[in-house]
């Protein structure tokens, strides 16, 4: 456009361009104001506490604040031999203050996370320290219990000096940072979390696979049958989908127990002897069976909605060009269903990886997942920062899959029912 062209003006003399931009801004603002209430509600009540978990998981100020003098005295200590009298004295002063404020229990819980065995020696120290004499605290504290004379325990205290630490994340993968600052794995018999992560991934993977294998044929049947039959069969998919999760878990508990219907049936047809009834519950098997059935509708529905859009004439064309039914299926039909497979698999995998209720009820010790461990630390050990760290590690994984899902399927394309 040359500069000679006159700008188009509206009736009140403002250039049209400016006027249009103003209207667009107004419309944008209007749209945003409609979304704003929900957006801010979620940001305050939901997103900010999740971000707060990030803070919780690295926050280690409790111990730092509990033993201020000790940590100052420890700065000069190289950690090789037992600390000097100075450190012991500072520790004694800090500890007396804690007893006055009745906070030594919290300290012992925290230190016990770091190294087992702190709880009892702190209790003992509290009792004995009442009759301590002034001076030579090193001798007196070491006399309370042999572990107080063990340099390992003092190193464990020193490790808790920083206000922020990522030790909880390391603990989540069975590692810790030793005195030289190297990352090392914990002893073999105490590696529990890595095993749990692997198991969670394994169970989520197999549940997804089983769901796919079972959902594919029935989604195909539903998509190809005449409407009046498929509507009827669709109920078999939708009724479990709408039924309470606990009801479905309860029904599996009844079916799978040793005196349950499945075992009764197997004994009746003679496959299993009466005194050798299968143990299908409170172990991995129970988790697999129940989770597969519960998550199956989430695989069937996306597959069905994709298959519904595939024209049957494509398969007929393939056959008329000389393809056998199997080749036609493999070369023509199957590739067209891949978007549905992707959507369903990712959905089931995301749901399976964070499952809590069903594994807790039918999983026993060998069938529980990472979520159960998070709940355990939230409720039983009350190690909330560790629970937060584990939760965020799980969340990072789920968000990564979600991102892939969004790229592949698009989040606006989620269909319900």
């Amino acid at each position: 456009m040359s500069s000679e062209t006159q700008k188009i003006l509206t009736t009140d003399g403002i250039p049209l361009e400016v006027s249009l931009k103003k209207v667009e801004r107004k419309n944008k603002l209007k749209a945003f104001l409609l979304v704003a209430p929900l957006l801010f509600f979620l940001l305050i009540v939901y997103i900010s506490p999740i971000i707060g978990m990030l803070f919780n998981s690295v926050d280690d100020r409790m111990v730092t604040k509990a033993l201020p003098k000790t940590f100052i005295a420890m700065e000069k200590w190289d950690g090789k031999e037992l600390p000097s009298e100075e450190v012991f004295e500072a520790f004694y002063i800090d500890f007396q203050k804690l007893i006055e404020e009745e906070r030594e229990g919290k300290l012992s819980t925290q230190l016990n996370y770091e190294k087992n065995g702190f709880k009892s020696i702190i209790k003992k120290l509290r009792r004995k320290s009442k009759s301590f004499e002034e001076g030579n605290y090193k001798e007196q504290i070491m006399a309370v219990h042999e572990r107080w004379a063990d340099v390992e325990y003092w190193r464990a205290i020193k490790r808790r000096a920083p206000s922020y630490s990522y030790s909880k994340y390391l603990k989540g993968v069975d590692m810790y940072q030793n005195e030289e600052g190297k990352f090392v794995q914990v002893e073999e018999d105490r590696r529990i979390y890595k095993k749990l992560w692997v198991r969670t991934l394994k169970i989520a993977f197999y549940v997804t696979l089983f769901c796919f294998l079972m959902a594919y044929p029935i989604a195909h049947l539903l998509a190809t049958l005449p409407m009046k039959f498929s509507n009827l069969l669709m109920i078999c998919v939708l009724l479990p989908f709408w039924t309470s999760l606990l009801v479905r878990t309860a029904s599996w508990m009844i079916l799978l127990q040793q005196q349950g219907v499945v075992n009764d049936f197997l004994v009746w047809i003679g496959l299993v002897a009466d005194d050798e009834r299968l143990v299908m519950m409170y172990n991995e098997t129970g988790t697999y069976i129940a989770m597969t059935q519960i998550l199956l509708p989430f695989m069937v529905l996306p597959l069905y909605s994709v298959m519904k859009t595939i024209s049957p004439s494509l398969v007929r064309a393939g056959k008329s060009l000389g393809g056998t039914p199997f080749i036609t299926f493999w070369k023509v039909y199957f590739p067209l269903t891949i978007p549905g497979i992707g959507a369903g698999s990712l959905l089931v995998f995301i749901l399976a990886i964070g499952y809590y209720i069903t594994p807790e009820l039918v999983g026993g010790a060998s069938g529980t997942l990472i979520s159960n461990m998070i709940a355990y630390h939230m409720k039983s050990t009350l190690d909330w920062s560790f629970a937060s760290a584990m939760g965020l590690m799980l969340l990072a994984g789920v968000l990564a899959i979600y991102w892939v899902y969004n790229k592949l399927v698009g989040i606006d394309n989620i269909k319900l029912g």
Binding site: L34, L39, L42, Q293, L296, I374, A375, A387
Partner: protein, 284 residues
């Protein structure tokens, strides 16, 4: 899908195998639900099908567990049902209002940062429940709302809104915006246009979103376990406790009632889906 006459024998066999596999999968999906019915009428205290039940002996069946559910001494189900309905109804109302309004904004073609905002609004559906539970618990504890109905209702609004946003946005995708412009040109104000024109047209989407939100809240147990005190116990929490401690047939009576309820919801959702498809079909 009948096979054409010229089908070769081995494909014919394969076809029947395929139908058989499908039958097994349908059985696997639906049969577990039906185990609950006979056992909830059990006269005995065990959760097994007794010999009497196999012989269809009338004495082996009874309504005692249903009576126990309603009239039992110190029974928790009455309070739990009251709480469940209270929480679910208020959570649904909250989720529907927030979700519908947000969906209206999201469907506008002027909406800035649509992708990231949509992802944020949907996130409660994607984030594992246990993590939502931990996060919401931290918030409610700080806000002094732990162990209150308000806290649980707020938490369930969070979980319910993604469903409303998704269903209403889907309904709005086939929505003809010229009708609202027509209303505006005839002198209607925006609120009036929404109530008289937009809302009736998107109502099927709103109601099906409401159904999802209601069922989500009614069935939710993880977050309630974190938040609830003794006074806020709900049906799922009672079932959870029951299933963990002692599996009594009363639970199965409750489960039967819940299955009947979900059948009602299913029928309602199906009717709505068809109606919504019809309305959108006309608009196209």
């Amino acid at each position: 899908m009948a096979l054409p006459k010229y089908t070769e024998p081995h494909y014919r066999i394969w076809h029947y195998v395929y139908l058989f596999i499908c039958g097994c999968v349908f059985f696997f999906l639906i049969a577990p639900l039906f185990v609950i019915f006979p056992l909830s009428f059990n006269a005995e205290e065990f959760l097994v099908i007794t010999d009497g039940m196999k012989r269809l002996d009338p004495d082996a069946f009874s309504l005692r567990w249903y009576k126990d559910m309603v009239y039992g001494t110190k029974n928790p189900w009455g309070l739990a049902a009251k709480n469940s309905f209270f929480i679910a109804i208020f959570a649904t109302i909250g989720a529907v209002i927030l979700g519908t309004v947000a969906a209206l904004g999201l469907s506008s073609r002027y909406m800035p940062y649509k992708g990231i905002i949509m992802a944020t609004l949907i996130s409660p559906m994607i984030v594992p429940l246990i993590i939502s539970g931990v996060a919401i618990f931290f918030f409610m504890a700080k806000a002094g709302l732990a162990a209150t109905h308000t806290g649980i209702v707020l938490a369930h609004i969070i979980l319910g809104t993604p469903f409303v946003v998704i269903t209403v946005t889907a309904t709005l995708s086939g929505f003809d915006h010229s009708v609202t412009r027509a209303a505006a040109s005839l002198g209607s104000n925006p609120v009036n246009t929404f109530m008289k024109i937009t809302l009736p047209l998107i109502l099927p989407g709103v109601i099906s979103g409401a159904l999802f939100a209601f069922v989500t809240s009614f069935d939710e147990v993880v977050i309630v376990l974190f938040l609830a005190g003794l006074d806020n116990t709900t049906i799922p929490v009672q079932m959870w406790t029951g299933l963990r401690e002692q599996l009594s047939p009363t639970i199965l009576s409750v489960a039967t009632c819940l299955i009947l309820l979900s059948t009602l919801v299913l029928v309602a959702a199906e009717l709505l889906r068809r109606r919504s498809e019809r309305i959108r079909g006309i608009n196209r």
